[in-house]
């Protein structure tokens, strides 16, 4: 398990990470999202022992990671800004990875290189941006480490390759019970791959949850009544839960003409039953994308949430 305890990182006067704490459980694909400058890459570099935390602690399986070869041997990191040793070929890089990672699987490396149709003997400088990323991803996967960390890995990959890489990561996690940490500024990249997600914003951890809970925690309701109504009316309709507890929360309410859209958290079935009892003209429950879930959760937490997901929002 990766434990991040009150991790803090400053670059001169700028505080890139502000006392972040969370755990990444074993055998999962953990996604980290956030806009540029949120601190994702910094956190990845701290988890991989490249950067030393200015405060707090980062432990892998209970041991601090910084300058700890035993721990670092368990993890391989694919950075956002790739380095491929001048004009080295994949084979040359494979030798380097093999020298550093005793678990490096040369056979698997050749297999993957073949699968991606990459020439192992060619210099990486002759590869396209996407091919370089594929090459380094292949090398990292061939290290067969317990933890694999990818920083903006899907950048520059075409959709086919993106799916292939995602598939490989998923297979690796399933077959070897490894743990993957993937960062992206695009939530869409991660929602179909990750088991857990964390949202970083301006150096802080805003939210962390597993995808299943996140996706079911909020729902969107579209409804219309024949008579005039307001948010207060809806809240009145739902005020009787029969238990004394409030089983819902309206995180977002918007009305256009007679049709209202609401983002709600709570007992989905009960809400639909209570609203249905009022004989609406339209009553429909719609699924939310992960981005919408994050956006409304953030609004509820009082974050100014413009551009958190960058251009993909």
């Amino acid at each position: 398990m990766i434990e991040v305890k009150n991790a803090r990182k400053c670059f001169d006067d700028f505080e890139a990470l502000h006392e972040i704490s969370f755990n990444i459980p074993d055998h999962c694909i953990f996604g980290m999202v956030g806009s540029n400058g949120a601190g994702k890459s910094t956190l990845m570099r701290m988890i991989t022992g490249i950067y030393r935390a200015d405060g707090g602690e980062i432990c892998i399986d209970g041991e601090p990671v910084y300058e700890n070869p035993q721990v670092k041997r368990k993890m391989v990191f694919v950075a956002d800004d790739l380095y491929y040793m001048g004009n080295a070929s994949m084979n040359r890089l494979a030798l380097t990875y093999q020298a550093m990672y005793p678990s490096f699987d040369m056979e698997y490396f050749h297999e993957l290189a073949k699968m991606f149709h990459l020439d192992e003997r060619k210099s990486l400088t002759t590869f396209s941006k996407g091919m370089k990323r594929q090459a380094i991803t292949i090398l990292a996967l061939s290290c067969r480490t317990e933890y694999i960390l990818f920083d903006e890995t899907f950048d520059g990959l075409d959709p086919v390759m993106r799916n292939l890489v995602k598939g490989l990561i998923c297979r690796d996690i399933a077959d070897r019970k490894a743990t993957a940490v993937i960062t992206s500024h695009s939530l869409r990249e991660l929602e179909d791959t990750c088991d857990q997600l964390a949202l970083l914003h301006k150096g802080g951890l805003v939210l962390q949850s597993d995808i299943g809970t996140l996706k079911t925690s909020l729902f969107k309701v579209q409804l219309a009544f024949a008579e005039e109504y307001s948010r207060e009316n809806i809240e009145d309709y739902l005020s009787f839960s029969g238990t004394g507890d409030i089983p819902y929360a309206i995180l977002h309410f918007s009305k256009s003409g007679s049709v209202a859209n609401m983002i709600m958290r709570g007992d989905h079935q009960l809400v639909m039953e209570l609203l249905g009892a009022k004989k609406p003209l339209i009553l429909e429950s719609l699924p939310l994308t992960l981005e919408e879930v994050f956006t409304y959760e953030m609004e509820a937490l009082g974050y100014s949430f413009e551009n958190v997901f960058g251009e993909d929002m």
């Binding site: 670059f11 570099r45 991989t48 022992g49 490249i50 950067y51 030393r52 300058e67 070869p69 035993q70 721990v71 670092k72 041997r73 391989v76 990191f77 950075a79 800004d81 790739l82 380095y83 040793m85 030798l95 380097t96 020298a99 550093m100 990672y101």
Partner: protein
């Protein structure tokens, strides 16, 4: 407590692999030299039939071996330059290796290639010279040269590591390498020169002084200190200190500092002051020399000084601009000029205070424990003996005198010289003297009056520690040449004749008392015999007046060789 693994075999092999291209290419060139040079020597000497054997030095037959001095830092740069590329730094620091381990392992890889490139071609060359009859490769000299090359290479490599660890741009790295390697010694040389410029009679670089004698540092005084073990050891010590500093910096360096101009703004300030301070040596020199020569500064002097200081300021800002490439940071650097000005004042003050302190060391005769006359090749003609007999001045420096008369003369002449600050040099005899008093030794170039010099010479010859002239004249290694001189006529003798005449002269000289020997050796009376002798690797001259009465056999011998006409003309 966990044991830290300082060496990683896998990383070592990986590092050797990284250096393979440059290593193999250089190795091929060096091995080619090792084969081709002996081959050409063999071809050119195979027709020679005599038994003459020349001892060749590695330096002469394999000059390319010097490449290793540069190859070591280049290889170091290849392995360590990753610290200044963000992606490369992250890549290498993500490896499961401690920084200490990486540092030592990489150094081991560089040294392995360096030693290989040094030893293998040299060994091949040595072996290939073995079958050549007329030329033998001197092994001891070769080993010294290899040690020199290796030590200098390691020193430059250490500077490369330090520079890579504290700066982040190519220009910055290059500038810092040069600063580390040259500035400390350059500062010392400059201060020494400025102090001795103000006080000419101070010989600060004598006595193997660690600070003032630049030949300690192989990089500075290679021509003087080549094959000197003390220089090899000193340079090695410097290299080791730099390697330790480099190691600490490498371990402490944060990966996120890659591509930063310097690891801290304070350090950047120091780095931009240093080149500017070096340039300000020139205006300081102008200031000191004008004040010394003229006692005041006129308008043109002030203009020159202002121009020179403008250059200094340009250098100061140029360094900042070239390293940061931002005009904004140049503006920000402006307050640092105050520190530069303070450093200038400090240098001036130090030169003045240290010079006055040294010049004020004037021991009284009774304070002096011993006196030694120092022979300097550069001071030819400044000896206690005749100008043409520098051999005796050389031998004289082996004697440490503890003689009241000598102490008195030296003390008086020193006080006189200090007061005049060397003004008497043109009109008096100059001698370099090492004076030991109160447990310390000072070296001074002292001006002696004619009377003082004569008195000194007599006291020296009368001293029990002084050698017998005839005895030391027999102690030469090779008698190179003997010439007879009379009335503008030179006569060069054959090997056998010159040996006989020289030997006879020395034997007859031995029969005379030391004072008379001295007279004959220092006076100009025809005929004169000039001998060139080789002693401990260098050539020296000896002049001897041949007196018919005191040296009858030599006189006759010369007559039989050159004819009596030569003697009687």
């Amino acid at each position: 407590m966990k044991r830290i693994k300082l060496f990683d075999k896998n990383l070592y092999i990986e590092a050797l692999r990284q250096l393979r291209t440059i290593g193999v290419a250089s190795g091929v060139i060096l091995l080619l030299q090792s084969v081709l040079v002996p081959l050409s020597v063999f071809v050119t000497t195979r027709g020679i039939n005599d038994e003459y054997v020349e001892e060749a030095e590695l330096l002469n037959v394999a000059p390319l071996v010097f490449l290793v001095t540069l190859l070591l830092p280049i290889m170091t740069n290849i392995l360590f330059s990753f610290v200044n590329k963000r992606n490369a730094s992250d890549f290498y620091h993500s490896f499961p290796v401690r920084r200490e381990t990486m540092y030592i392992t990489y150094l081991a890889a560089v040294l392995t290639w360096g030693l290989g490139l040094l030893i293998l071609p040299a060994a091949a060359e040595y072996l290939l010279f073995l079958p050549i009859r007329h030329v033998k490769l001197a092994l001891d000299n070769s080993l010294y040269l290899m040690a020199d090359i290796l030590v200098v290479g390691v020193l430059i490599s250490a500077a490369v590591i330090i520079a890579q660890c504290i700066t982040g741009t190519r220009f910055g790295v290059l500038a810092v390498i040069l600063m580390i390697l040259f500035l400390p010694r350059l500062f010392l040389v400059y201060i020494r020169e400025m102090v001795t410029f103000n006080h000419e009679f101070l010989l600060l670089d004598e006595g193997n002084h660690l600070f003032w004698d630049q030949s300690w540092n192989l990089l500075f005084g290679f021509a003087d200190s080549y094959r000197e073990m003390r220089s090899i050891l000193y340079t090695l010590a410097l290299a080791l200190i730099d390697l330790i500093i480099g190691g600490v910096l490498f371990v402490k360096r944060k990966s996120e500092k890659a591509e930063s101009v310097a690891i801290s703004s304070r350090l950047q300030m120091v780095l931009r002051i240093l080149p500017a301070l070096t340039c300000s040596f020139l205006p300081i020199y102008v200031l000191l020399s004008t004040m010394r020569q003229e006692g005041f500064m006129d308008g043109s002097d002030i203009v020159i000084l202002i121009i020179l200081y403008i250059i200094v300021i340009v250098v100061y800002f140029l360094y900042e601009l070239l390293t940061t490439r931002k005009l904004r940071s140049v503006v920000k650097a402006a307050p640092g000029l105050l520190w530069l000005a303070a450093a200038n004042v400090a240098v001036l003050l130090f030169i003045s205070l240290y010079g006055n302190y040294q010049a004020g060391l004037l021991p009284e005769a009774e304070e002096i424990d011993s006196v030694r006359f120092v022979y300097r090749e550069a001071s030819y003609g400044m000896g206690l003996f005749a100008d043409e007999s520098d051999y005796f001045d050389l031998r004289l420096q082996d004697i440490t005198f503890d003689n009241d008369t000598i102490n008195r003369i030296v003390s008086e002449a020193l006080a006189d010289t200090a007061e005049s600050n060397g003004e008497y040099y043109e009109s008096r005899y100059r001698l370099d003297v090492a004076i030991t008093y109160n447990g310390r030794t000072i070296w001074r170039r002292i001006a002696f009056q004619v009377q003082q010099k004569q008195e000194l010479l007599e006291a020296v010859i009368a001293d029990a520690r002084f050698f017998s002239f005839a005895e030391v004249l027999s102690e030469y290694d090779i008698l190179q040449d003997v010439e007879l001189y009379k009335n503008d006529q030179y006569s060069v003798l054959s090997q056998n004749k010159m040996r006989t005449i020289y030997q006879t002269a020395v034997e007859e000289l031995a029969l005379l008392d030391n004072k008379t020997q001295c007279q004959l050796l220092s006076e100009f009376r025809y005929p004169m015999m000039y001998a060139t002798i080789e002693y401990q690797g260098d050539w020296y001259r000896v002049s001897l007046s041949i007196d018919q009465e005191m040296m009858p056999e030599t006189w006759e011998l010369i007559g039989s060789v050159r004819g009596n006409g030569f003697l009687l003309e």
